[in-house]
């Protein structure tokens, strides 16, 4: 809390952010998927990252959640340096991440999917003696209602529709009440109606947490975003409100114009 953020930029020193990404670089066999990237996410901010395929959006999320190791640079969250931490530790600090393809436990019921994501009993012994208390059940029901699966608790995960699976995975993350929630294309493959419901859901759940959403669908981005970051070739091309970004000639050139 007390340490001042590294003064690489004038603005970051003045303000306290939830997430600091500074000088982040990762190269795969010489190819720099992320190239000296700086990104600051405010507390309670919903940030949308857009960019053409291969811009490094998913790699950025992989780096933040520890799936990929950075070649250089730093990622700080709640005064913790994340770049050297193992994945489960990063999650325990409060970073939740949803994968691009729905990643749920197909053989388990919706209830079990959510219950397993409850953030207690995370050690081997803890899990062995984990009790399904009223508190856990309440939390599962609350989250299930939030994601619109309140009456589907007994349904097997694999039998849900694509959209419902996406919601379930968001619900599994909500069980952990993360302070930073990262969603990778949450509405990919959803129907128009499902997209609307998802937009509402995202607006509701971003109330007490920071969120990073990667999305391609411009209409959807306009619906949810206050601030948009455009990535291109591992770097940040533009950042600002949706309107400002939309009219940025550089952005139009690499992305929106095509």
């Amino acid at each position: 809390m007390m340490t001042t953020p590294a003064a690489t930029t004038a603005t970051s020193a003045a303000k306290e952010f939830a997430l600091y990404v500074e000088g982040l670089t990762v190269s795969f066999d010489g190819f720099k998927a992320i190239d000296d990237l700086n990104l600051y996410i405010d507390k309670d901010e919903l940030r949308v990252i857009i960019g053409p395929n291969g811009a490094g959006k998913t790699t950025l999320l992989d780096l933040i959640c520890g799936k990929t190791r950075a070649s250089a640079g730093s990622i700080r969250f709640k005064d913790q340096e994340l770049t050297k931490k193992s994945e489960h530790r990063i999650v325990r600090y409060g970073v939740g991440r949803k994968f691009q393809t729905p990643s749920i436990y197909e053989n388990l019921s919706v209830f079990k999917n959510l219950e397993v994501s409850y953030p207690t009993g995370r050690s081997v012994i803890g899990a062995l003696f984990f009790r399904q208390t009223a508190e856990v059940k309440d939390r599962v029901r609350t989250v299930a209602d939030e994601i619109g699966l309140g009456d589907r608790l007994d349904t097997q995960g694999g039998l849900l529709s694509h959209g419902e699976k996406q919601w379930l995975e968001i619900g599994m993350l909500l069980m952990q009440d993360p302070e930073l929630l990262m969603l990778d294309e949450p509405i990919a493959g959803m129907s128009v109606r499902e997209r609307e419901v998802t937009a509402e859901l995202l607006k509701r759940i971003c109330a007490n947490r920071s969120m990073i959403v990667i999305e391609h669908d411009m209409a959807f981005v306009e619906q949810i975003a206050s601030k948009v970051t455009v990535m291109h070739q591992g770097r940040i091309l533009a950042e600002g409100s949706m309107d400002a970004v939309k009219n940025d000639p550089k952005v139009i050139d690499v992305y929106l114009g095509h």
């Binding site: 959640c65 799936k67 193992s86 994945e87 489960h88 999650v91 325990r92 939740g96 991440r97 994968f99 990643s103 749920i104 436990y105 197909e106 053989n107 388990l108 019921s109 209830f111 079990k112 219950e115 397993v116 994501s117 953030p119 009993g121 995370r122 050690s123 081997v124 899990a127 062995l128 003696f129 984990f130 007994d154 349904t155 097997q156 694999g158 039998l159 995975e169 599994m172 952990q176």
Partner: protein, 414 residues
Amino acid sequence: MNRLQTLVRRPGAASLLILAALLLVVFPLTLDIFRLNLVGKYLTYAFVALGLVMLWGHAGILSLGQGVFFGLGGYMMAMFLKLEASDPVSTKIQSTPGIPDFMDWNQLTELPFWWEPFRSLPLALIAVVAVPTLLAFVIGYAMFKRRVGGVYFAIITQAVALILTVLIIGQQGYTGGVNGITDLKTMAGWDIRSDSAKMTLYFVCAGLLLAGVVGCRWIQVSKLGTLLLAMRDKEDRVRFSGYDVAFFKVFAFCVAAALSAVGGALFTLQVGFMSPSFVGIVPSIEMVIFAAVGGRMSLVGAIYGTLLVNFGKTYFSESFPDLWLFLMAALFIGVTMAFPNGLAGLVDSHLKPWWRRREAAAARRSEGSAGGSTATSPGRSTARQDPMTTRPAAGAEPQLPAAQLPIDVTGQRA
């Protein structure tokens, strides 16, 4: 009465009761002591199969080296029994009396220091479980922390099985070599070769096996059990939900190792010797076949699978000794291709729906108060998830199995 009914209706409880009745009542009453001892020997393999259900079926980790732990458990027990059988009086014709005969033949003049703890029965019994579990922990930690899995893990476990066999055969002065440790007589003065001892050991073996089933079931219904299933399905999702996946795999591997070791120790006690032929690659793979035939998702099924394959082995290898290995391989390939969930899978997909239909029909006939009782029974089975069958809502929606089948199959291909 009602309480008893709910207890019996718990998933798995009825099948456990039937198994217990078979092992503890039917077999002892119908088989002579020679055959019963033989069943007892099979049951020691069932411990390994039980461990494989947890490790392979539930955690999705295929180990082709469970013979290592079976063998280690067996050898630890054999070491104790051998020391007791090698008292100075009965070994007085040796050049060094008081040490096991094979050591004397190999010109050893004193007992190696690491044999010393096996003079004590409690220490030996602790070692039976502790040493294999520790080895499993070390191998598991080294592999799973580095995210070695799938077929690579299977190959490494095979290598370990091979290494241990070579080591045992090569160090015959310390281990008895290819003959193993033989001529075991008594345990703390109790003659294990007598018929009454064989009977007692059979019941100990069957009792421990049933306790093992209950213990494994307890793990399965815990959050840890759910996590194992979840890991098999989507490992990354579990990891990114804040769990250190490696430790859960290590745990499953250790449980499987400990069970195998207990089986090995009971094997030594009932069969009266231990040799490297129960450690290597072939017995390890045979044990995987037992679990596969019975159903790798079903604890009880794995035990039936073990019994069935071994009865088959005894019968066929008596009649067609040359064909047995081919038959066994064909059985394995056939089962994995046609019934990936083994016998237990067949029971789940055919016998249980038939029974449910019959029950429902009976309930319909006796309308009256039927509204209450029939509605609750499928409801209950829906609410309580049964990871053993992995077909949760089957009770409530009888039309579903067809739709669920592909999921089952893909989910279980390890």
